[in-house]
């Protein structure tokens, strides 16, 4: 009987479905205490220059075993520096060296307590004329206009610091000489004391080792008819290690319940040197939003272009104060925003994109309880019914046979 044979199939599928769910374990990270200091120990006049702010936000996330230090800086190109140390280490900023881009401007003492350090720098903003409307930065003969972010003047970050939410905002007005209007580039930064899921799309998972960065390009005036934007980023980590180099990983998931319509996650791994097998990572979903109100209808593609390891452009940034350039691994890569036929950047004149910069093992999405319940109930019920029904039918058939036999005898 058909009903009987399908029982096994459904059952096997159900088991196959539930096994990975049960097997998956959640990633935990301990809660941390966060404190924020703006321009720590800065006594020089440059820190009070109201025409060109020197922003260095120091965020200290203290755990029971270690401290994660973040430095959010717009001195030079916007940079997020992440340093993990033992409980005994302290930040020392030499402001003269920082302002002169000299090495040794930012150090943690004692230096032996530093276990890991990495940084992510947004080095360039690229506007390109996508005349083919394929949203591909690397199309041949594409006209481009590059803005070096180190040359921009950033607003005062101290006003934007929120000590309870652990946020700060880096913002600059992009003055476009040929055009009368001005747009802004803003970088919203947030550190987390606990682990959870972000409450705005794309709802990335974060741990207490994470800085979340929202980049938005708001109201920029396009130079070309078919303008789209892309950014170049530089990822750098301490310790030269030929075997475990920086690498990009794209993983697919069947689960898009947290980021509707998005099934991929990109991770840039910046592994640490042995003995610790952990390292830093940047994690993002290839989706950006064409509107400040983020929803599926405003979702646009984010395209990743292969990273390069040689001829990396190093902008002026606090990485020069911290890293010794012959003892690091680094890579630069581009990402571009926009979907073919979306009307280009000009359609909404807004792009918002989120990336997490963190230390530890990248967290993975898991099926929510809702989905597991619906699947189990939905599939379990028919299987049960078919099973019971099958038995009833079999019994009935036997009975009928018996009755028929009986009639003949009578």
């Amino acid at each position: 009987m058909a009903a009987c044979s399908s029982v096994n199939v459904d059952f096997i599928l159900l088991i196959l479905l539930l096994v990975p769910v049960i097997a998956a374990s959640s990633v935990h990270s301990e809660d941390r205490t966060i404190s924020i200091v703006y321009n720590p120990n800065c006594t020089t006049d440059a820190c009070h220059n109201t025409s060109d702010y020197k922003n260095l936000v120091y965020v200290k996330a203290e755990g029971t075993q270690d401290i994660i230090h973040y430095l959010w800086s717009s001195i030079g190109a916007p940079t997020i520096l992440l340093v993990r140390t033992s409980k005994d280490a302290e930040l020392r900023v030499n402001w003269d060296k920082v302002l002169n881009s000299e090495n040794g401007g930012i150090v943690f003492v004692p230096s032996s307590e530093v276990t890991y350090s990495m940084a992510l720098v947004i080095s360039r903003l690229i506007e390109y004329n996508d005349s083919n409307n394929n949203a591909d930065l690397e199309t041949k003969n594409t006209t481009k206009h590059v803005t070096l972010l180190q040359n921009l003047q950033w607003q005062d970050m101290s006003l934007s610091i929120n000590e309870t939410k652990h946020t700060a905002l880096m913002m600059t007005t992009l003055y476009q000489p040929l055009l009368k209007e001005n747009g802004t580039i803003s970088i919203q930064l947030r550190a987390f004391a606990t682990h959870d899921r972000s409450d705005i799309l794309p709802h990335l998972l974060y741990t207490s080792n994470t800085t979340q960065m929202d980049v938005s390009l708001n109201g920029l005036v396009p130079m070309y008819k078919a303008s789209r934007f892309a950014i170049e980023m530089l990822a750098i980590k301490n310790g030269h290690n030929a075997k475990k180099n920086i690498s990009i990983h794209m993983s697919r998931s069947i689960d898009d319940e947290y980021t509707p319509g998005m099934f991929k996650v990109y991770e840039l791994h910046l592994p640490s040197q042995p003995p610790s097998h952990y390292g830093g990572y940047c994690q993002w979903k290839p989706v950006c939003y064409g509107n400040q109100i983020r929803d599926l209808a405003n979702a646009l593609e984010v395209k990743y272009y292969d990273e390069k390891y040689t001829d990396v452009y190093i902008p002026s940034s606090i990485i020069n104060n911290y890293f010794v350039m012959d003892q690091v691994d680094m890579t630069s890569f581009n990402i571009s925003f926009g979907t073919p036929k979306d009307g280009f950047y000009n359609a909404t004149r807004y792009t918002g994109w989120t990336v997490n910069i963190a230390y530890g093992t990248p967290p993975e999405d898991q099926l929510s309880l809702l989905i597991i319940i619906v699947i189990s109930a939905g599939l379990g019920l028919p299987v049960f019914l078919i099973f019971v029904g099958g038995i009833i039918i079999c019994v009935r058939k036997r009975k009928e046979k018996y009755k028929e036999l009986h009639l003949v005898v009578n």
Binding site: D256, E257, F263, L296, A297, A377, G378, I386, K403, L407
Partner: protein
């Protein structure tokens, strides 16, 4: 089995009773009569096979008319989609204004079909009803085209009115088409005919999608006009298609009248007239069929509406590939449904096939939801399953309700389906926005499980009542000949609901024995059968 009320034994019947019965049966308008050997001998074939309603060839010619009956309405239904860009530009419409043209068709039909089907049964009869609905379709499309020719905001309002009027006729025409199909093809190639009709509806929209654009350009080039005037003329072509369907309706009415005259088959209208309250007495099987229909269809159409983005994002397909995969279900249903209908005809066992179809769809949705397998495989599977279900499910209605209620039953089915689709389409859109495609797929899986449960219940209920719905074709034929041989009327007043519900061999003989007055052991009375264990009632 309860004994028959007229009490006359078939064994002692004479020629008079036989002829009286013959008459009584034809009064009920049973299509099975046409197949009975008695009917065959009492009329000698007249004229060519093509003109003889008893011959297959004639039926197939009528089938062509039946298919073209709804061609016009399917053609014009998707006129706005085919001319979307022109329409939005020429009349300066926003997307929501454009979508209004579809909403005005869909929403009223959530209830209209139901009343349409009822009117078909109780007031107009199938022939007049069909012609009337065809006329409404023509008038609706004419108003629509007129509105486009007027242009501007007034034109848009006139066009909306046209769509609404079209909606009054369009779905009801589909109901009428189903009813016609049953009255001509029941006990014959009914499954295939439903498959063919499904296929033709797809052909109608496909032809429209592919030629309306070129027609628009052609008109534009030939006349040198631009804008809404060109649009108007292009839409008048659609009106022409509707007139073609109207002609089919008239010719079909003529042939149906002629067939019933030759076969001495009375209009079902003159028989018992259905009252709206009769819906309460629809058998449980019918309600299960409705539930299967709605819970299955909501997992197909709303999914296809939202499918393109899903295929692009999850399977990395280009926009063109994604739309190709997405439309596979429609393309396959056009090609596969007549073939699958033919297979169902040959094998019978409709409930089994429905089970197979629902299970395959479940598999296809699971593949899409939980894996990254090539989506072409899943969509082909879904397309085939969808065609199979359409062929096997819709004809079942004819087996559970008498012919005089068919229109109402089909109308009801269509209404419930429309309601389900309208509501679920909105819910599905919201769900994707908030919770993504995985939850949407899981939601669809849950619906399919509901469908599966309904199929199993249908099988169980049907099996407990003799298993007519899931009978093999061979058994069905055997029943028909056996019933004719024994001379049992194939329909009794107390089981008027199910003319084609032959029981197992045992039950048939049982009923026969009870009619000739033989004493049956107690355990053979059907209401006691559950207690009839050895030793309990003996």
């Amino acid at each position: 089995m309860a004994s028959s009320e007229n009490g006359e034994s078939p064994l002692i019947r004479d020629d008079t009773t036989a002829s009286r019965k013959e008459e009584r049966r034809s009064h009920r308008g049973l299509s099975t009569d046409r197949e009975s050997p008695l009917a065959r001998t009492s009329f000698s074939p007249r004229g060519f096979a093509a003109c003889d309603p008893r011959r297959g060839l004639h039926r197939y010619l009528v089938l062509i008319l039946m298919c073209f009956l709804s061609f016009g309405s399917y053609y014009v239904y998707d006129n706005p989609a085919a001319l979307q860009k022109h329409m939005k530009d020429d009349l300066d419409l926003s997307t929501s204004e454009f979508m209004m043209m579809y909403s005005l068709y869909s929403w009223p039909n959530v209830i209209l079909c139901f009343f349409g089907g009822f009117l078909l049964d109780s007031v107009f009869g199938i022939r007049l009803g069909t012609i009337l609905f065809s006329c409404i379709v023509v008038v609706g499309q004419c108003i629509f085209a007129l509105g486009a020719s007027l242009g501007g905001h007034v034109g848009y309002i006139v066009m909306c009115t046209g769509r609404f009027v079209f909606g009054l006729g369009g779905e009801n025409l589909a109901v009428a088409q189903n009813t016609y199909a049953v009255s001509w093809f029941k006990n014959r190639e009914l499954n295939m005919v439903f498959g063919l009709q499904l296929s033709f509806s797809r052909v109608g929209s496909t032809v429209n999608m592919n030629i309306m654009g070129p027609i628009y350009d052609l008109v534009s080039n030939a006349t040198g006009w631009e804008g809404y005037r060109v649009l108007g003329i292009a839409l008048w072509v659609g009106a022409g298609m509707c007139v073609l369907s109207l002609i089919c309706a008239i010719v079909l009415a003529f042939f149906d009248k002629r067939a019933s005259r030759i076969l001495k088959k009375e209009d079902s209208k003159t028989g018992e007239v259905i009252a709206l309250t009769d819906i309460k007495h629809f058998p449980a099987e019918l309600w299960l069929i409705f539930f299967i229909c709605v819970s299955y269809y909501v997992t197909i159409f709303p999914f296809i509406d939202l499918g393109v983005v899903f295929f692009e994002e999850k399977f990395d397909l280009s926009p063109n590939e994604a739309s190709a995969v997405n439309s596979l279900v429609y393309i396959l249903s056009a090609v596969a449904s007549p073939v699958l209908g033919f297979i169902v005809d040959r094998t019978g066992r409709n409930v089994f096939w429905i089970f197979v179809a629902v299970t395959c769809t479940l598999g296809a949705h699971m593949m899409l939801a939980f894996s990254f397998f090539n989506p072409y495989i899943a969509m082909v599977l879904m397309g085939l399953a969808y065609s199979l279900l359409a062929c096997a499910l819709w004809p079942l209605v004819a087996f559970v309700v008498p012919e005089n209620q068919l229109g109402t039953a089909y109308g009801c089915m269509q209404s419930i389906q429309n309601l389900g689709l309208a509501v679920i389409a909105i819910v599905a859109g919201q769900m994707v926005d908030v919770k993504g495609y995985l939850l949407l797929e899981v939601f669809f899986l849950a619906w399919l499980c509901v469908a599966l449960i309904c199929v199993v219940l249908l099988y169980l209920i049907d099996a407990s009542r003799g298993g007519a719905l899931n009978m093999s074709a061979a058994e069905r034929n055997k029943r028909a000949t056996e019933a004719a041989k024994v001379g049992l009327p194939d329909k009794e007043p107390d089981e008027a609901v199910s003319p084609l519900k032959p029981q197992s061999d045992f039950h048939l003989r049982n009923r026969y024995l009870s009619r000739i007055g033989a004493k049956l052991p107690d355990n053979y009375t059907s209401h006691l059968s559950t207690l009839s264990r050895r030793g309990v009632l003996q």
